[in-house]
Each structure stands twice: as C-alpha cells, then as structure tokens.
C-alpha cells in the first residue's frame, strides 16, 4: 500500500521535451511509472521515449486519461504550468521546479484552496511508492518496498535517510519530498494524515528543517491524531538568523522563530524522538518496528 501514487497513477509530464523533463521522464518510465503523456506548448504530435506529447494538459487528460502531472518547467513559466494542471482537475500535480517566485506561489496557494487537486512541491524531489511509481527526480535505486512512510522538506537529505533505512532492511511505503519553499502545496500534516490512514505504513520518518512553523504544527497533529509512531530529524541547528540556507524557505527569522530547537522541542513534546544524526533516525525507526 501507499499514499497519493501507485501503479495505477497515469502521469503527464509537463516540460517533457526539455533537458530535465526528458531525462527524468525516461528515468520514471524505467522505474515502471505509468507515464502516459507529455505536455509542451508547440510540441504536440511529437513523441519522447514513445510517450505522446500534447500541446496542453487538457489534451493529455482527454486523450490519455492522465490523472497526475509532474512539472519540469523553468521558474518563469512554472506557476502557469501549475495553474494549468490545477485547472484541469488532475488528482495530483508534482512541481519539481526550484526557484518559483514566492508571490507566484501565493497566487497558486489561493487557487489550491478552490480545487481538489493535490499539489506536491514546488522545489521538491517528488514522490515515490517503491516498486510502483516514481513522480519526480528521486533516485529509484536507493528505495525499497516496505512499511516506513517518509516525508521531508529536502531532497538529498531524504536520500541520505532512505539509504540508512534501506541498508537496515527497512523499506518504504511511500516517500514524499514536500519541498523547501516558503509556500508549498502539501504540508507535513497532509502527508502525516495520509500515512496515518494507510494500513500498510507502520512507522513514519519526518525530516524537517529551519524556517516557518510547519514542523511545530505537525508535532501538535502527531500528538493529537496519530497512533503510527514517528521519528524526526531537523536540519539547520547551526544556521544563523536572517540567512537563507539554500532553500527559499529555510530561514530563521530575525526574531528567532523557525529555529531547529523550537521544532525539536515541539516534536519531543509530542513524543517524537528526534535523531542527532541520520543514523539515529534509522535507529529510532528500527525500535518502532
């Protein structure tokens, strides 16, 4: 079992004819993902890796019954691509693009409140249900099928933690990178709620980082609503205030909100053990299972 994606998911890749889109569409197909179409304005009628390309998402849905999109579109055009997928009433849109202006995302966020489509990202590695489907850029080979759910704001940190889990034989139900931007579609709570409802997820890893208050809110949610055990990790303990640590969202405010300590404290209060190292996170998960 899994959350959000599985081998029935029918994927349209927005931006499939670009360098990144083409490469990762190929990787997704190789992983076994059901990539049914690409969508690139002006490229309708072409094929990429045997996948038909349409000019619009609308046509991809009409012709190929796509129900999810993955967006590899440069930042200047990415918000438009997200609007296109939201307005086409897909079940899921996964925006990989890094560097979308925050004010564009505020508009997208408003639109999200009006639609049933789930957005994951942007500025995220995507989502994978090992052995079934991969939507995004995660390296499929490090994942293995199992019962640990993983949700993270960071890409490579996710790989690190997954690697530690997989090495110990702790496979994953689904792993989601929710993205490192200040405004994102799917929050920790959204993912945790879905994992809690998934009968085949028996433990969850939540990798947070500095900036914002999502982790604190997630901690409260875990304390109040979750039976599935959660292990935590928070990156950015050594980050100085006022500096953007790579991710647009990874910034401790001048007044000291959004610190790693505040998030660690909140998680501990909710009974969530927080590892000092990725290895320790894997230790905690091992104890749960």
């Amino acid at each position: 079992m899994s959350i959000f994606v599985d081998d029935d998911t029918r994927v349209v890749v927005q931006g499939i004819t670009g360098g990144e889109g083409k490469f990762h569409a190929g990787q997704m197909i190789e992983y076994g993902t059901n990539v049914v179409a690409g969508a690139v304005p002006g490229k309708g009628g072409q094929e990429v890796d045997g996948v038909p390309v349409y000019d619009t998402v609308d046509e991809a849905v009409e012709e190929e019954n796509a129900d999810a999109s993955v967006i590899f579109v440069p930042p200047a055009f990415a918000a438009d691509a997200v609007f296109e997928s939201l307005d086409t009433d897909l079940d899921l849109a996964v925006a990989i693009t890094e560097g979308i202006p925050t004010q564009d995302m505020a508009k997208v966020n408003k639109r999200l409140s009006e639609t049933d489509t789930r957005l994951i990202g942007p500025n995220c590695p995507g989502i994978i249900t090992p052995g079934e489907a991969k939507l995004g850029i995660l390296p499929g080979n490090i994942f293995s099928d199992g019962n640990v759910g993983l949700v993270s704001r960071s890409g490579t940190l996710t790989y690190q933690v997954v690697d530690n889990l997989t090495e110990r034989g702790l496979g994953q139900s689904t792993a989601i990178g929710i993205g490192g931007d200040p405004i994102i579609g799917t929050s920790f709570i959204d993912a945790l709620e879905a994992f809690e409802a998934d009968p085949d997820t028996d433990a969850v890893v939540m990798c947070g980082e500095i900036g914002g208050e999502d982790e604190e809110q997630a901690a409260r949610f875990i304390g109040e609503h979750m039976d599935t055990p959660v292990a935590g990790f928070i990156a950015g303990r050594t980050a100085p205030p006022g500096k953007r640590m790579g991710h647009a969202g990874a910034i401790v405010s001048g007044s000291g909100t959004g610190t790693a300590q505040s998030k660690i404290d909140a998680l501990n209060d909710a009974g969530v053990p927080v590892g000092d190292t990725p290895e320790e996170v894997a230790d905690h998960v091992e104890e749960f299972l």
Binding site: G99, K107, I137, L157
Partner: protein, 381 residues
C-alpha cells in the same frame, strides 16, 4: 536579497513616499558636502546589512559641522559586526513627535501577504511582536485580488494611529504594498515612520528584501543586488550562482542539496567542530561547478579543513570526483585537507576515480564529518 537603506529610499521616493532629504557619501569630504547642503541636525548612517546598526554605533546624529566630521570619520571604515562600512547615508534629521512601524511581508503559514502596523515604532518590532503581540495590527491580503484600499485604512485604524494622520499613513502603506508586488519583495518595512509636530508623515528608515527567485524578472533590482554585496566571498558566490552563507567556524563544507548541507553543518557542530560556511553546489553539478566550489572554500582564509559530502540523485559521483581531481591537481600542495564522501548515483565509480593522494575518503556522512573536524583541530593546535 536585502537592499541598502539608500537604495530602498530612492525607490520609496520615486513611488511618492515622503523620505527625508539625504545624500550618499563614501568619504568624509563627501559627507561634509552633504551636511552643508542638508543642514543640521543630520543623521550619519552606516550602509551595511546589519541589524541594530544604531545600538552598534553605526548611526549618529550630528548637530554641527564638527560633530558631522567626527561621526563620518568614525563610521566610515568601521567594522560593524564583521562588515566594513564603505558608505554612509547623510540624512536630514526629522523633528518627530511620534513613531510608527509599518510593513508588508509574506505570512508563509497563511500563504498570503500581510500588512502590519504598530504605534510602537522606532524599536525592534520583533521584540514588540514577542512581548506585546496585540500592539501590532495585521491584515492579510488575498494575493489573487491584491490589496483593496480599504484594507490599508482598516489596519491603520485598528492599530490606533492618530486620526489626523491615519489616511496619510494608509496611503503610504498602500504604496508600500504596490512596491511589494511590483518589485517581488519578500519584505518591506519602514521603522520608524515619523510623525512630525506639523503632522507630516515621513519614512525615516527603509527596509526592502527582494525575493531572489524573482530577480529574473526584476532586472533593475538585480543590478542593485550587484551593488549590494558586502563581502568578496558573497560576491563570488553570487557570480558562481551558488547558495552560500558564510559562518564563523573553520570547517569548510560543500555538499549538494540544502537539507543535506545543513545536516553536514549540524554534524560538524555535533562532533565538536565549527562550520565555516554553507555551500550548496545544487543538483546535477558537473566537474566545473565542483572546481568553483573548492575555489570558494579555499579562498576563505578562516577555513582549516574541508568536508565534501555528496549524495547523488541527479548529481553523479563520477562527475564530482572528476571535478575534485581537476581542482586539486593544479596545486603543488593542497591548501587544506579535503575529506570526500560520495553516495548515491555513480558513487562507486566516483570513489574509483578519486585521486586519493589528494583527498581523504570516507564511506559514511558521520565518518567524513568526524575526520574533517579532526583535520581542522590539527591545524589549529
């Protein structure tokens, strides 16, 4: 990307917001020419991106020419929390009877811009927010509609701004919101807005933070950003296009992906070391990027040892290894010890390629960090 006060004030003035008369000066003579034109009292204000400039001695009020000269001499060239002051803004002193705070920022929890107004201006607003949150009135803006003019008025009245200046303050706030939208700001703040005895309303300070991700469509602001670097390493990182943050420790850190690099910093600290920087080479880096990253870290004289931590997704271990070899082979002697850890895509190929005469290799993140910390300790001992 934070603009300098004088840059932001020029933008404010162009938008019609009243600001005090001012001149930028880079020498004491220029500063004196400026006060001669502007008159007394005049504020001499260090143009550096440092919070609490005033408390740190970076802002002084001169009441005559002698004081002006003295303060300009003191401030120009001074070290303010690690930054050298290259220029001062010489500004007409405002005879105020009241100070307000007004600002526009993104409330990331709500995903909406928020207007903020407080009658407790002139002090650290973040302290006000913590100690007396009710002293700040807030109004969220629906980003699809943009600001409705009534909202600026509403938040100003709610904050308890005096009735006789309320509409003027609301008008400034509306303009600030327009600037916020038009310039893709992440934050605009005026603290304080000064109310004079004649009930004029003047923006006495100006903070503008621009969303770096939007600079592609803000060419004018991108130019200002160029002028705004205050550190050679930051400038270099900007030119290379790296996400880079300078810290005060001595272990240089290079990695891929913000979360993993932060984690590497945290582990350096956890194992008793002190990180010198955050440097993310991003996804899919080729050999050239790797060379540039090492150049960055080697250029930092505070760095005593380096840890290079890659978990390959898009980034390929063999490309990284090639870059490391190329970068290091040009040295007769490697300037600082480099510990490399490669995992993920093509990690094994990379490990084979790596010239182990030039670098030390570790298999796990934890081991690599511990070794780098030890290397740094050896240098400082």
């Amino acid at each position: 990307m934070k603009l300098h006060e004088h840059q932001a004030k020029t933008i404010f003035a162009d938008a019609g917001i009243p600001v005090p008369d001012s001149r930028l000066a880079t020498t004491v003579d220029e500063a004196l020419d400026a006060v001669d034109e502007i008159g007394y009292p005049a504020a001499i204000k260090a143009q550096v991106h440092v919070g609490g400039r005033g408390k740190a001695g970076g802002i002084k009020i001169a009441t005559d020419r002698e004081e002006a000269e003295q303060y300009a001499e003191e401030i120009l060239g001074m070290d303010l929390k690690g930054y050298t002051v290259d220029s001062v803004l010489v500004e007409a002193g405002v005879d105020f009877v009241d100070e307000l705070y007004v600002g526009v920022t993104m409330d990331r929890g709500e995903g909406k811009p928020v207007l903020m107004v407080s009658t407790e201006g002139g002090v650290d607003i973040e302290e006000v927010a913590e100690e007396n949150p009710d002293a700040i009135a807030r109004e969220h803006v629906d980003p699809a509609f943009g600001l409705h003019p009534y909202q600026a008025r509403k938040v100003v009245y709610e904050a308890g701004v005096d009735a006789d200046v309320a509409l003027d303050v609301a008008s400034i706030l509306s303009t600030l919101y327009d600037l916020y939208e038009d310039s893709d700001a992440s934050e605009i703040e005026v603290n304080p807005v000064m109310i004079t005895g004649d009930r004029d309303v003047i923006a006495a300070d100006a903070v503008m933070n621009i969303d770096e991700d939007a600079l592609f469509r803000q060419p004018d602001l991108a130019d200002l950003a160029e002028e705004s670097y205050e550190d050679d390493l930051e400038r270099k990182a900007g030119e290379y296009g790296f996400d880079y943050v300078r810290l005060s420790g001595n272990v240089g850190i290079i990695g891929n992906g913000a979360g993993l690099v932060m984690t590497t910093l945290d582990l350096v600290d956890y194992y008793g070391g002190a990180p010198a920087n955050f440097l993310d080479i991003g996804g899919g880096a080729k050999a050239e990027r790797v060379t540039q990253a090492l150049d960055m870290v080697f250029s930092d004289e505070n760095v005593d040892a380096v840890v290079f931590n890659i978990f390959g997704g898009i980034t390929r271990g063999d490309e990284v290894a090639k870059g490391i070899n190329e970068a290091l082979e040009q040295f007769d002697e490697i300037p600082k010890k480099v510990v490399v850890r490669l995992a993920g895509t093509n990690a094994e190929e990379g490990m084979e390629i790596l010239n182990t005469d030039l670098v030390e290799v570790e298999k796990t993140l934890e081991d690599a960090v511990q070794r780098a910390v030890k290397n740094a300790e050896e240098v400082t001992q």
